[in-house]
C-alpha cells in the first residue's frame, strides 16, 4: 500500500513537472503551424542532407522545448514537408541544444564546464549523424504512422525547381500574389474560416490545435509517466547503481537510468548532479546526452509520429553512438 502511494506520488510529480513543458511545446507547435509559412521555412533550410541535418539540430535554439515538447514541433515540421534530415535532427537535438537547457546544465555543472560543452557537442554529433542516415530515406512515409503520412504534402520529385508555382496540386492565388496550396490541411482550415479577421481566427485555430495536441500528447505522457513511476517503485534503484562503477557498465547503467527515469531535459542536469561523484564523467555525459533523445515517457510520444520500426532504428543508433563517444571520453579524456 505504501508502495502504491509512493508510486502515485512519483507519478503525479513527474506529471506536474512535465505538464508546463508540454504546454510550452504544444504552444510553439501551434504557433509554428499558423504563423510560420511552410515555404518560408523550407526556403531557408539548406538543400544538402548534411547541412539540413545540422540546421535541424540547431533549430532548437529558437524553440526552447524539452523532450516532452519537441515531439509536437517535430511532427509539425514533418507535416509541413520539412526534409527528414531536418525533422530528425530537430527531434534528437532540440531537447538539449536550446538556451534553457544549456543554462540549466551550466548552473548545475558550473565547476565542470567541460560537461556542458561536451553535452552539446556529443548531442550535435549524434543528432547530425542519425539525421544524415535518415536523409537517405527520401520518402519518410513508410517510417511514419499512417495517419501522419496521409497528412504529409505530396512528395516533390527531386528535380522539382524551388519555384512553388511549379508544384503539383491545387492552388489559390492570394491577394498578395502568393499561391496557397489547397490540399494542405492547415490551408484547408484557413480557407474554411472567414478571412475577415485573420489574426483572431488564426489565434482561435492555434488554440484549437493546442487543445487537441495537449489532449492526445497529455494522455500519452500520462501512460509514460505511469510506466516510469512503476519501474522506479518496483525496481530498487540500488540495482541500477550497483552496475555502475567501471568504465563500461557505468555508462550502460546511466543510459538505462536515463531511459527509465524519463526526466525532462531542462531539469535532468540537476538529477545527474546527484551522481557526480559516484559515476564516471562519461557515464554522466551518457545520461545527459541519451536521456533527452530517448526515454520511456518519450517513446509513447514518438509512437504518435513514427512506426515502431523507425523508433527502434533511432534508439539503436543513438544508443550506440552515445555509448562509443562516452566510452572514448572515459578511456582517453578523463
Amino acid at each position: 500500500m505504501e508502495k502504491f502511494s509512493n508510486g502515485l506520488t512519483l507519478f503525479f510529480s513527474l506529471l506536474v513537472e512535465a505538464i508546463p513543458f508540454l504546454l510550452i511545446g504544444v504552444a510553439f507547435s501551434s504557433l509554428l503551424l499558423f504563423f510560420v509559412n511552410e515555404r518560408t521555412l523550407i526556403k531557408f533550410l539548406p538543400k544538402s542532407p548534411l547541412l539540413g541535418a545540422l540546421a535541424g539540430s540547431l533549430m532548437g535554439v529558437f524553440f526552447p522545448v524539452c523532450e516532452c515538447g519537441n515531439v509536437p514541433v517535430a511532427r509539425r515540421l514533418i507535416l509541413q514537408g520539412a526534409p527528414s534530415s531536418v525533422s530528425i535532427g530537430f527531434l534528437l537535438a532540440a531537447p538539449t541544444i536550446n538556451p534553457v537547457v544549456f543554462w540549466a546544465t551550466w548552473v548545475a555543472f558550473r565547476d565542470q564546464p567541460e560537461i556542458v560543452f561536451l553535452r552539446v557537442g556529443f548531442t550535435l554529433l549524434i543528432a547530425v549523424t542519425i539525421a544524415w542516415v535518415f536523409s537517405h530515406q527520401r520518402d519518410m512515409r513508410p517510417l511514419l504512422q499512417p495517419a501522419v503520412a496521409r497528412q504529409m504534402p505530396k512528395l516533390r520529385p527531386p528535380s522539382a525547381p524551388a519555384n512553388p508555382l511549379l508544384r503539383s496540386g491545387t492552388f489559390l492565388m492570394r491577394s498578395d500574389g502568393t499561391p496557397l496550396k489547397l490540399d494542405d490541411p492547415s490551408a484547408q482550415s484557413l480557407i474554411a474560416s472567414p478571412p475577415a479577421q485573420p489574426m483572431v481566427v488564426k489565434l482561435q485555430l492555434a488554440l484549437d490545435n493546442m487543445v487537441q495536441e495537449l489532449k492526445e500528447l497529455g494522455a500519452v505522457l500520462i501512460m509514460g509517466s505511469a510506466i516510469a513511476a512503476f519501474v522506479q517503485v518496483a525496481v530498487p534503484r540500488e540495482w541500477i547503481l550497483a552496475l555502475g562503477q567501471n568504465f563500461v557498465t557505468s555508462i550502460l547503467a546511466m543510459m538505462l537510468l536515463a531511459a527509465v527515469v524519463s526526466i525532462c531535459s531542462t531539469v535532468d542536469s540537476f538529477f545527474a548532479l546527484s551522481f557526480a561523484a559516484t559515476f564516471t564523467t562519461g557515464a554522466q555525459l551518457a545520461f545527459l546526452v541519451f536521456g533527452p533523445m530517448i526515454d520511456l515517457k518519450n517513446i509513447g510520444l514518438l509512437l504518435t509520429v513514427f512506426k515502431p520500426r523507425a523508433i527502434f532504428y533511432i534508439f539503436v543508433l543513438a544508443a550506440q553512438l552515445c555509448f562509443i563517444l562516452t566510452l572514448f571520453m572515459n578511456f582517453y579524456v578523463s
Binding site: T9, P236, E238, I263
Partner: protein
C-alpha cells in the same frame, strides 16, 4: 442476390454536427479545467512541496493559470471552423485521450500526495555519503554554527572530510524522520531526510545515526523527531560512523516541506 451494403462514410456525419461539436467542446473544457484545478489545488494546499523543487514551482503555477485561461477561451469560443476529425494524427482516439486525462485528473483531485517515508528510503538505498556536494561549493560555510546545520549540511560536510573523530563534541540540532535500518543494533536509529534536486522522481534519502539509551522501538519508523545533542563516533554494523548522542529527543509534526535541497 445480396446487395453489398454501402460502407459508412469515414467522417463523422455532418448531421447533428453542431451537437457533436458542443459536446466535444464541453469535454475539452472539462479536461482543461480539471487539470487547472489539480495544479491550483497543489499550489494552494502547499502539496506542491511534496512533488517539486521550489525552483520549478512557478512553472506548475503558471501552467495552472494558462490551463484556466485556455478553458475559458474554449468555453466562450463559437463554432467557427468545420473541424477535420477524420485525418487527425492520433495514437489514441480523441475520446479515449480525453477520458484518460479526465480520469487521472479526478484521481489527482481525490488523492493527496504523501511525502516519502522510511520504506521508500530503504528501497532507494539510504546513504550517508551524499554525492551532491561537489558542484555546490557555495553551500560549505565553514563558519556555520554546528547546531545550525541540517541533516544534509552534516552529510555534505562529512563528504568533504569524512573522519568522524573530527566532529566529536560538536553540538547538533537536526530534524528528520525515523528509519530502522535492518542491520543496525536495537540501540540505533537513523534520522533521515529526502533530498530533492528537481521533483519527487529523483528524491533520495540521506541520514545520520542516533544513539539511543532505550530500544529504538520507542520511536516508530516515520515519526518526525527533533534531536539535540553532541556528536560522537560509534561503530555501527562494523563501520565507524559519526553519530548523534542526544540530550533531547522531541517528536514534532511532519513539516509542511519535508524535503531538503
Amino acid at each position: 442476390m445480396s446487395v453489398k451494403r454501402p460502407r459508412k462514410p469515414a467522417t463523422a456525419p455532418r448531421k447533428g454536427s453542431t451537437a457533436w461539436y458542443r459536446q466535444s467542446k464541453l469535454l475539452d473544457v472539462l479536461v482543461l479545467l480539471a487539470w487547472s484545478l489539480v495544479l491550483f489545488r497543489y499550489w494552494i494546499t502547499g502539496k506542491l512541496f511534496l512533488l517539486l523543487h521550489p525552483d520549478y514551482m512557478w512553472l506548475a503555477n503558471g501552467a495552472a493559470i494558462v490551463l484556466l485561461v485556455m478553458a475559458g477561451f474554449k468555453l466562450v469560443q463559437k463554432q467557427t471552423i468545420a473541424r477535420d476529425t477524420a485525418g487527425h494524427t492520433t495514437l489514441l482516439p480523441p475520446q479515449v485521450s480525453s477520458f484518460i486525462l479526465l480520469a487521472v485528473a479526478v484521481v489527482a483531485l481525490i488523492y493527496t500526495p504523501q511525502a516519502f517515508a522510511s520504506d521508500a528510503a530503504i528501497q532507494r538505498g539510504i546513504s550517508d555519503s551524499l554525492t551532491l556536494t561537489r558542484s555546490q561549493p557555495q553551500r560549505f560555510v565553514r563558519q556555520t554554527a554546528s547546531e545550525d546545520r541540517t541533516v544534509i549540511d552534516w552529510v555534505r560536510t562529512l563528504n568533504v572530510y569524512p573522519e568522524p573523530d573530527a566532529y566529536t563534541g560538536q553540538s547538533v540540532k537536526v530534524s528528520g524522520f525515523v528509519i530502522h535500518p535492518d542491520d543496525w543494533p536495537e540501540g540505533y536509529l537513523m534520522l533521515s531526510r529526502f533530498v530533492l534536486t528537481c521533483c519527487a522522481a529523483d528524491a533520495y534519502p540521506v541520514g545520520l545515526p542516533v544513539q539511543l539509551a532505550v530500544s529504538r522501538q520507542a520511536y516508530a519508523p516515520d515519526t518526525w523527531l527533533e534531536v539535540e545533542g553532541k556528536m560522537v563516533t560509534a561503530t555501527i554494523g562494523g563501520q565507524r560512523q559519526l553519530t548523534i548522542e542526544p540530550t533531547k529527543l522531541e517528536t514534532i509534526p511532519e513539516p509542511r516541506n519535508p524535503y531538503e535541497y
